[in-house]
């Protein structure tokens, strides 16, 4: 009996965080810094900053097969391969699709990384604030439910998070894309400056350098991280810790408090619910290596397992109180799955500037903030809008394949950089639809015996109408800027491929129509918080990670305050 009591004691913490990615790392840091003994559970393997970045210093000639991955390795990644982004430098970060199955009722690209830091190791680092244009949109349009928060609720937390992680960008004074606490902006190149000026003159639109979580100046509070060296090899892990990842930033800070216990290979089966206390008491964990089940206990549980991961855990946390999943009295859990659509836009050739070039591989591009359905701009064929990302660059040696020349002549030609090209890709908002949803599939279990997810989601009429404009407006701007041979493109773009899946445990004011309240707290279980993408009530069109981080820090602050008052 004593043994049992000791075991329970040993497995008891003040707080449990499920997931160590972008939002989980933040939950871990904030909880431990506030003095809570915190267990962080990561379902994948351990990845230690620097130590476990095997390819970070490799030169092109040091990677096998020119960086290509052989088919006998790729066959484990049939879904992840849809990104066309798996290479010898980053292949160890992708989830094994064979071991981690799900069902696509309609095509849905679920792109994942199961290891310490999750997708924070390989994210795009684009870092934008939402604004009241976004927080008020559902209410104004009568779509979904109203966000229970406004920009003012989140603004101080955006400040807090940006200051800590380091965000480079330029203040532009746009109300709908609020400025942040910026490190110096990265340079635009000569051609991007031309586009910026012509967009302003001819269209009255802004173009700014991408706002990114890369250090362009040292962080006085975090001397362990260095300044970006423009290697653009971020997806291998950064030797300088110059971009924000949980591994380089939040987790080391959580660790040094002495309050964090980190467990890898710990797959959360469900959140444990105590019917008498009407609270969660911990989580059930399956060891990914031994398949042994262990219960861990805590007074506060933060779910940061990614939108679909956290949603899965709640759906799988059934009890007589919650037969359809914990906190699912609204039947909204798993619904309203959103993503961002992209992979459409335009590109053009640029004449001139042959005597100009650049130094460095900037891990960033340009950003054209949303201009649709703002102020006097009013579309009748769709609501909401999109932003553009892109860049200009000079063609490199690969253009030689298509040249008529070969031999000495070709060699000489390729030593000179080729003509400039410029491209724009739209990133469009997706509306919440209750029938874009994930459900538990008990007929198909994974190798741990856990049910799997069925995903049934698609782009609908509003997204499709917007997509046409994303393509055409890109061409219109490049033509208006005077660039040549403007060509639109529209590549296959399953929902999911934006890797911004969100919305499946949405925040709202009413427990009857939403899963989380304005503090990211389950309406129905006061000590369970969800602060990853699942919480999103609408998708906006901005890259969402910064918002997850800000929501997390805000929710932890609330949870710990309420916990001290005995309310959580």
């Amino acid at each position: 009996m004593n043994l049992n009591i000791d075991a329970v004691k040993e497995n008891t913490f003040d707080a449990i965080v499920v997931g160590s990615g972008i939002s989980g790392g933040w939950a871990a840091k904030e909880l431990t810094e506030k003095g809570l003994k915190t267990l962080v559970l990561e379902r994948g393997r351990e990845v230690e900053h620097l130590r476990d970045y095997p390819t970070m210093m490799k030169n092109p000639w040091e990677l096998p097969h020119g960086g290509r991955v052989p088919p006998e390795e790729l066959k484990f990644y049939p879904v992840q391969s849809r990104t066309n982004w798996i290479n010898q430098g980053n292949k160890h970060w992708w989830v094994n699709d064979v071991d981690n199955p799900y069902t696509e009722v309609k095509p849905f690209d679920w792109i994942r990384g199961y290891h310490t830091g999750g997708r924070s190791l390989m994210w795009g680092k684009q870092t934008y604030r939402l604004s009241d244009l976004d927080f008020e949109a559902n209410k104004k349009d009568g779509v979904g439910v109203d966000w229970p928060i406004r920009y003012a609720d989140l603004a101080p937390w955006y400040d807090y998070v940006e200051t800590f992680i380091g965000v480079s960008g330029r203040a532009e004074g746009l109300a709908h894309l609020p400025d942040g606490k910026f490190l110096p902006p990265m340079d635009l190149n000569c051609v991007e400056e031309v586009l910026r000026d012509r967009l302003a003159e001819k269209f009255g639109r802004k173009l700014t350098i991408g706002r990114v979580a890369h250090l362009t100046a040292p962080l006085p509070h975090d001397p362990g991280r260095g300044v970006c060296q423009s290697r653009n090899l971020c997806d291998r892990g950064c030797p300088y810790g110059a971009y924000f990842s949980s591994n380089a930033s939040t987790l080391p800070w959580a660790k040094k408090t002495g309050n964090m216990t980190m467990k890898s290979n710990a797959i959360v089966h469900s959140v444990l619910y105590d019917e008498a206390k009407r609270k969660a008491v911990g989580v059930k964990v399956i060891d990914a290596e031994t398949k042994q089940e262990t219960d861990y206990f805590a007074k506060i549980v933060f779910l940061n397992a990614s939108s679909l991961g956290s949603t899965f855990i709640l759906l799988n946390s059934t009890s007589s109180r919650f037969p359809n999943g914990m906190g699912n009295g609204s039947d909204q859990l798993g619904r309203n799955l959103m993503d961002h659509q992209y992979r459409t836009g335009a590109e053009a050739e640029v004449e001139g500037f042959e005597d100009k070039y650049y130094v460095g591989r900037r891990p960033n591009g340009i950003y054209i903030p949303r201009f649709r359905n703002i102020g006097n701009d009013k579309r009748t064929d769709f609501i909401r809008g999109f932003g553009y990302q892109g860049s200009a660059s000079r063609e490199s040696w690969s253009r030689g394949v298509a040249e008529m020349s070969f031999g000495e002549e070709l060699k000489k030609e390729l030593m000179e950089p080729g003509p400039w090209r410029i491209g724009l890709t739209g990133f469009g908002e997706c509306l919440p639809y209750s029938d874009n949803r994930v459900t538990l599939n008990k007929d198909k279990t994974d190798k741990y015996g856990l049910p799997t997810l069925s995903i049934d989601a698609e782009w609908k009429a509003n997204e499709k109408a917007m997509r046409v404009d994303m393509r055409e407006s890109a061409a219109e701007m490049l033509e208006g800027a005077g660039f040549k041979n403007v060509r639109t493109y529209d590549a296959p773009d399953n929902i999911g491929l934006g890797i911004h899946e969100m919305g499946t445990a949405r925040m709202g004011r009413d427990p009857k129509t939403s899963v989380l309240n304005k503090w990211n707290q389950l309406h129905e279980v006061s000590n369970v918080f969800v602060t990853d993408g699942a919480a999103m009530t609408s998708s906006a069109c901005q890259n969402p990670s910064l918002t997850y981080m800000a929501m997390t820090a805000r929710a932890v602050d609330y949870a710990v305050r309420e916990h001290k008052k005995g309310n959580v």
Binding site: W61, P64, M186, D187, Y358, A402, F406, E408, L410
Partner: protein, 199 residues
């Protein structure tokens, strides 16, 4: 070790010297198919000879290293072995055979054994044909050929340029390479930067 040395060593190991007409025959063979700079793992010796010769025609040694010195044939052999699917392997083997057959019927010699000017003429012919097909000159020809099977010359050029410019000599001596360039500078006179960045 060149072929003559190899033959001589083998001969010594066997305990007798190869002399007379037999030796002449072997050495003529040596001229017809020069020593391979690598041990092919996928390509046959004949295919490898073709790849060596074609690589050097596309990206020759000048005052800077060429494709063969940069190890491109070995790179191509490895790519086909490790990265190509079986269908791609079969297709490429067919392409190599057809190209060599064309060399033989046009110049009476395998591509590798043909005179340099004949090699260049055949490669040029393939470029001209592709340009003609698209009714376009220069850069249009590859894109215009899209949709169907990638033409043999395009595929080989792709492999050769990829292998060459990701090699150390190609990246650092022909172009320039810096793994850690430092803060990005967006608008610099080309004269200050010099050559194309390898990456």
């Amino acid at each position: 070790m060149n072929r003559r040395e190899a033959i001589q060593r083998t001969a010594m190991m066997l305990g007798y010297a190869v002399t007379g007409p037999a030796m002449v025959g072997v050495l003529n063979g040596c001229k017809a198919s020069p020593e391979l700079p690598f041990n092919p793992k996928f390509l046959t010796a004949d295919q490898a000879q073709l790849v060596v010769a074609l690589s050097e025609v596309i990206m020759p040694k000048t005052d800077t290293p060429g494709a063969v010195e940069a190890g491109v044939p070995q790179f191509i052999d490895d790519m086909i072995l490790s990265v190509y699917t079986q269908a791609d392997k079969d297709r490429l083997a067919k392409g190599l055979a057809a190209f060599d057959e064309e060399a033989k019927s046009t110049y009476g010699d395998s591509f590798a054994s043909a005179k340099k000017e004949d090699q260049i003429a055949l490669v040029k012919k393939h470029h001209d044909e592709l340009a003609g097909k698209s009714g376009d000159s220069s850069a249009g020809w590859w894109r215009a050929s899209g949709g169907g099977e990638k033409p043999f010359m395009v595929e080989m050029k792709e492999l050769i340029l990829l292998g060459f410019f990701t090699s150390q000599p190609g990246a650092t001596q022909v172009l320039q390479y810096n793994q850690s360039p430092g803060p990005y500078k967006g608008c610099v006179p080309l004269a200050e930067v010099g050559k194309t960045w390898a990456t």
